[in-house]
């Protein structure tokens, strides 16, 4: 792959490594993220997929991938990746596979596995400096089973198990992963495919864990129109709700800072999961708290709103 940065959507790779015909919902933000990630990763990959919505991608006898796919339980995808990586390394060392046929090992999980159940096995894999990619498609709840609250669910979001809105705040997975000082760690968004593509280009030069978290709109879970998926992913970034950033060995830098932040309300009011903040009466206190949390985040980095 050339090292020249990608400048516009017209420069994105033409090749498609994720094919249609999957069972994912119409307007799935996770599918859009994955499509762009696989364009950058190419077809020589092994996907190690923890249980979640993307379980549905490969349903016998159909697969949307050109590459291999291994299915694991929710807690252990990074452990599965370790086994695959070790097997490949042994085959390479014994000369049983050509170095050109080497595969990238890619863990793919939702936020349930990444933030909750699989956190310890991920921590272990990062600590062991396992050479792998990790893509977390984060729709901020357990979407596969009907949208129950996860550690990733943001404050005030309604889920099946928090019908009045979640009382606690979203877990900072980026911060937790970053405390391991991995070679490369980034947040991405399907609404910023050029930023996403360049992050994969940058990650490629490092050996060891390369970790990505993508906030993805989920039409059935968020109670939004499928056609608004892209718009919402963009609003999340433009309001400062989802910060696009990267970290190299623990040093964090923002890759995109909106010139003028939009009020976070613009993002919230589009979504059914936050509708209780607006009707039948406006809940000023909770709305104010969400905006405050966004402000506090950016102030910490000296980026004033």
């Amino acid at each position: 792959m050339s090292t020249e940065p990608i400048r516009s959507v017209k420069d994105l790779p033409q090749e498609e490594n994720l094919f249609p015909g999957t069972a994912a919902c119409a307007g799935c933000g996770g599918l859009l993220t994955l499509r762009h990630c696989l364009k950058m990763l190419g077809e020589n990959v092994v996907i190690v997929n923890a249980a979640g919505c993307f379980t549905l991608l490969s349903i016998y006898p159909f697969t949307p991938f050109r590459s291999s796919w291994l299915y694991t339980a929710m807690a252990c995808a990074p452990a599965g990746a370790q086994g695959v990586r070790d097997a490949l390394d042994i085959l390479l060392e014994k000369g049983k596979i050509d170095p050109e046929d080497n595969l990238k090992v890619v863990v793919l999980t939702g936020d349930g596995a990444a933030y909750d159940m699989g956190l310890s096995s991920t921590s272990g894999a990062i600590y062991r400096n396992l050479d792998f990619y990790y893509i977390c498609y984060d729709n901020e709840a357990y979407g596969n089973t009907g949208f129950q609250e996860s550690a990733s669910t943001p404050f005030a979001s309604r889920t099946k198990t928090s019908p009045a809105g979640k009382g606690s705040v979203k877990k900072d997975l980026f911060g937790i992963w970053n405390s391991h000082k991995p070679p490369y760690l980034a947040t991405i968004s399907p609404a910023y495919p050029v930023d996403l593509a360049n992050k994969f280009k940058k990650a490629e030069q490092y050996k060891g864990p390369k970790l990505f978290i993508s906030l993805i709109p989920c039409p059935p879970g968020w109670s939004t129109d499928p056609s608004h998926t892209f718009k919402l992913a963009k609003l999340a970034v433009e309001t400062g709700f989802w910060a696009l950033k990267e970290s190299v060995f623990g040093e964090v830098e923002h890759t995109y800072v909106p010139e003028r932040f939009k009020p976070v309300e613009e993002y919230l009011k589009e979504q059914g999961r936050f509708s209780h903040l607006f009707s039948p009466v406006r809940k000023e206190e909770q709305l104010g708290r969400v905006q405050e949390m966004v402000n506090e985040y950016w102030e910490r980095f000296g980026i004033l709103l």
């Binding site: 015909g21 499509r35 697969t63």
Partner: protein, 304 residues
């Protein structure tokens, strides 16, 4: 006992339709069961829901293979081999289909023995409620067919929807549309609501060896054999006089099913497009329109 089976697509409201008719029958003093069945799939994928209604006790459990009434909420399901909505339909039964086509046409096209009733629920939903979610409309149609009273239906819609919809105005629109559908049809003389007690049988499941029950897929990109084009109500349609080939629609399609044709204009793979309409929403030139599809009669063929 009356047995109803609903066939719809995920998100279309088959589950709530089954619940609505069940609740309406319950309000008329019947014993009722209702439950949905869906596989590992999602919004847009075929799902079914079942309702059993009886004056006496209902001892039967499980899916209904031989329904008295079949409600098909999406015309395109009729030719879907996995959904197979017509399976188990019989001469004395009723098949309702949401379609603008006539019952005679459907009887001939799909060789249906049962009494066929049709109504364009999607059009009514779009016109009266402003949405293609058809739960209450299909529930109303089913209630009418089996002879439930208007008041019970109205109460059932109110009861079922007030738990889901907070917007009172939307709820009223749903009730109005439900009653419109209800009054558009005639009730059908159905057999009695007495329970039947069949002989009990022991169900045994064969044990599969691990090699069979954990199969490997050895063909790459085989998912394209699965067509998801029927999931949609609207599909994108490009005006090439306005399109400036900016590629935005291509890069924003989650399915990756928009590609460039020989002249470099985007065109959609209609066999896989699920109709999310992100392309319509995002096109900076407003060169893409949403048109009704994929029911053949309503597909515009000009310009393609």
């Amino acid at each position: 006992m009356l047995k109803l089976r609903f066939h719809g697509r995920g998100g279309q409201g088959a589950k709530v339709a089954s619940r609505t008719v069940g609740t309406a029958a319950f309000m008329e003093g019947c014993n009722v069961q209702d439950f949905p069945l869906y596989g590992a799939e999602r919004r847009g994928a075929p799902i079914s829901a079942f309702t059993r209604i009886a004056r006496g006790q209902i001892m039967e459990r499980g899916v209904i293979p031989d329904p008295d009434v079949i409600i098909v909420m999406d015309h395109t399901l009729l030719s879907d081999p996995q959904a197979a909505p017509l399976s188990g339909s019989n001469k004395g039964g009723v098949v309702f289909v949401n379609t603008p086509e006539s019952p005679e046409q459907l009887k001939a096209d799909y060789d249906i023995d049962a009494l066929v009733i049709t109504l364009d629920l999607t059009k009514i939903g779009l016109d009266m409620v402003g949405s293609s979610i058809l739960s209450t409309l299909a529930g109303a149609v089913a209630s009418r067919i089996i002879g439930i009273g208007e008041d019970s239906l109205k109460d059932a819609v109110e009861k079922e929807l007030s738990g889901i919809i907070a917007d009172r105005e939307l709820l009223e629109k749903n009730i109005e549309a439900a009653l419109y559908c209800f009054r558009s049809l005639e009730p059908v003389e159905m057999k009695t609501l007495q329970s039947e007690h069949g002989k009990s049988t022991v169900i045994t499941m064969p044990f599969e060896r691990a090699r069979i029950s954990s199969p490997a897929i050895n063909a790459a990109a085989s998912s394209i054999l699965k067509q998801t084009g029927n999931w949609k109500v609207f599909r994108p349609f490009w005006d090439y006089d306005v399109c400036n080939k900016c590629m935005i629609c291509v890069s924003r399609c989650p399915e990756g099913c928009i590609s460039l044709n020989e002249e470099g204009f985007p065109s959609v793979d209609n066999e896989h497009c699920k109709g999310c309409l992100i392309c319509v929403e995002e096109c900076p030139k407003k060169a893409i329109k949403a048109v009704r599809g994929p029911v053949p009669d309503q597909v515009e063929v000009t310009g393609e």
